[in-house]
């Protein structure tokens, strides 16, 4: 199983590991609750080297991205990043992706770790001979530095603060470093790529700047508190952006794979709709638990404990129409338990 170039560092820090997208990655160090709290109140550093990343360059690259992705990358200024999705012909979500637009015709594409090979193969199959596609996973590591204190910590280490959804390139110990003001926690900060040769030293500099090492366990509770969907649970090839409450990611003014199916669904209605909920009692709903509202049934796609609310929270799908006062229940083992519907985010962040 592939390991991060930082694996030995994680072992030294007492990490526990988990198979994540086929990678052996840290799930926690001290504990999920402590790391969650550190990111919400100060800042943490996550090794997210399992995430996909490849460079796409060439005069046709913008057109290619516009064809294959449902948001319009043409509307993004060079030096900025965009959240977007690759759809299939049925409008289903093959992946949700961040695109980093460095220059007019030079991009980084950042898919989910589990989808890197699929998405890169899709681009390779559609690219013309003038396009360059380079896998960056073998040559770089990727960190997420997140939390209210993250911008200052990044400035301490790299000399500059990230700005939300803006990119910059700098150097660290003579190595190039690439920074995007993005993340998956709802906190300020950035995602930072560096050559593998710089990985250990840069990780050490982040820790020395006071960042708490945080694992993928807390990354999941942090993202769920914000209602950010996870591909493979909340999003999949049988689920469209309209069903997932992600219509804002769809740019209708350009042609893209899956557009016709989405238009039909926009005009004809969706068969399921995402809902968010907070448990009334102390129980915790999990991915796969049944949901119901009256006679209609659905399923929980993400459920966990919210360390901030100290309650179970979750995302799931039910068939519309979903009246505002709809009574929704979730089945936990043998009991149907009432939940409070709540549109994400589940917590207030500015």
């Amino acid at each position: 199983m592939p390991q991060s170039p930082l694996h030995e560092e994680h072992v030294r820090l007492g990490a526990r590991f988990v198979d994540f997208a086929g990678w052996d990655m840290p799930v926690q160090y001290e504990g999920v609750l402590a790391e969650h709290e550190a990111v919400r109140s100060a800042a943490g550093v996550f090794d997210v080297s399992h995430l996909g990343r490849f460079r796409l360059e060439g005069p046709e690259s913008t057109r290619l991205l516009q064809t294959l992705l449902c948001n319009d990358v043409g509307a993004v200024e060079p030096g900025r990043a965009q959240y977007t999705m690759a759809l299939n012909q049925s409008g289903g979500i093959e992946d949700d992706i961040i695109v980093w637009r460095w220059e007019e015709d030079r991009y980084w594409v950042v898919p989910n770790g589990a989808n890197e090979d699929k998405v890169r193969a899709l681009f390779v199959s559609r690219a013309d001979t003038r396009s360059t596609i380079e896998d960056l996973r073998e040559s770089t590591v990727l960190f997420a530095v997140q939390g209210p204190a993250a911008p200052a910590a990044i400035e301490t280490v790299l000399g500059r603060r990230p700005v939300r959804f803006c990119l910059f390139e700098t150097t660290f110990a003579q190595h190039p470093v690439w920074v995007a003001g993005t993340g998956y926690t709802g906190e300020p900060g950035g995602e930072i790529a560096a050559p593998i040769d710089a990985a250990v030293e840069l990780f050490g500099a982040f820790l020395a700047a006071g960042l708490t090492p945080a694992g993928l366990g807390s990354r999941d509770t942090l993202r769920l508190e914000m209602g950010y969907p996870l591909w493979g649970q909340d999003l999949d090839p049988q689920t469209t952006p309209l069903e997932a409450g992600l219509a804002w990611v769809v740019d209708w003014d350009h042609e893209f794979v899956g557009k016709e199916a989405l238009q039909r669904q926009r005009d004809g209605g969706i068969p399921k709709e995402q809902i968010g909920f907070i448990m009334e009692g102390p129980q915790i709903a999990r991915n796969g638990y049944p949901l119901r509202s009256g006679e209609t049934t659905g399923v929980v796609t993400s459920g966990n404990y919210s360390p901030t609310l100290k309650r179970g929270i979750g995302l799931g799908y039910l068939p519309p129409p979903l009246a505002a006062d709809l009574r929704v229940e979730v089945q936990v083992r043998d009991s149907w338990l009432p939940v409070v519907r709540h549109d994400p985010p589940f917590i207030e962040r500015t």
Partner: protein
């Protein structure tokens, strides 16, 4: 991992501490709480409920997953640890003490044969 000498264990990582009048106190081991991670909710039975050895007697929710806890003996629940409702983290911080789950009055002593002594349990988790 801590394995106190004063009690017995199961292969499902529970401990039993004999008390007075044929009662035993039970909980989960240090190894179990460590594997579960941060415990955020424990569902306990009500006093008076009866269980056969091997029945699911409690559920432990952590930030990672949910795990069943099985009755290590056949008997009747005589007391439950009410503190876990407001402080489930006691299971992590003091699994052999304040993080206990229930007290059981043993109904059938036959099941006690298969319990592990501390040395055998240490070997199991080694």
């Amino acid at each position: 991992m801590d394995v106190p000498d004063d009690r017995q264990y199961t292969e499902e990582h529970e401990w039993l501490l004999p008390g007075e009048g044929g009662k035993v106190r039970m909980g989960i081991t240090d190894y179990a709480q460590d594997a579960l991670g941060d415990v955020v909710y424990v569902e306990l039975p009500a006093a008076g409920e009866t269980f056969s050895k091997g029945d699911a007697i409690a559920e432990v929710e952590s930030t990672k997953s949910v795990a069943d806890v099985y009755a290590p003996v056949t008997g009747t629940v005589t007391a439950v640890n009410e503190d876990l409702a407001s402080q489930p983290e006691l299971v992590n911080s003091d699994p052999y003490g304040d993080g206990w789950f229930v007290e059981i009055e043993i109904g059938d002593a036959a099941g006690l044969d298969s319990l592990l002594d501390p040395a055998a349990y240490r070997e199991l988790i080694a």
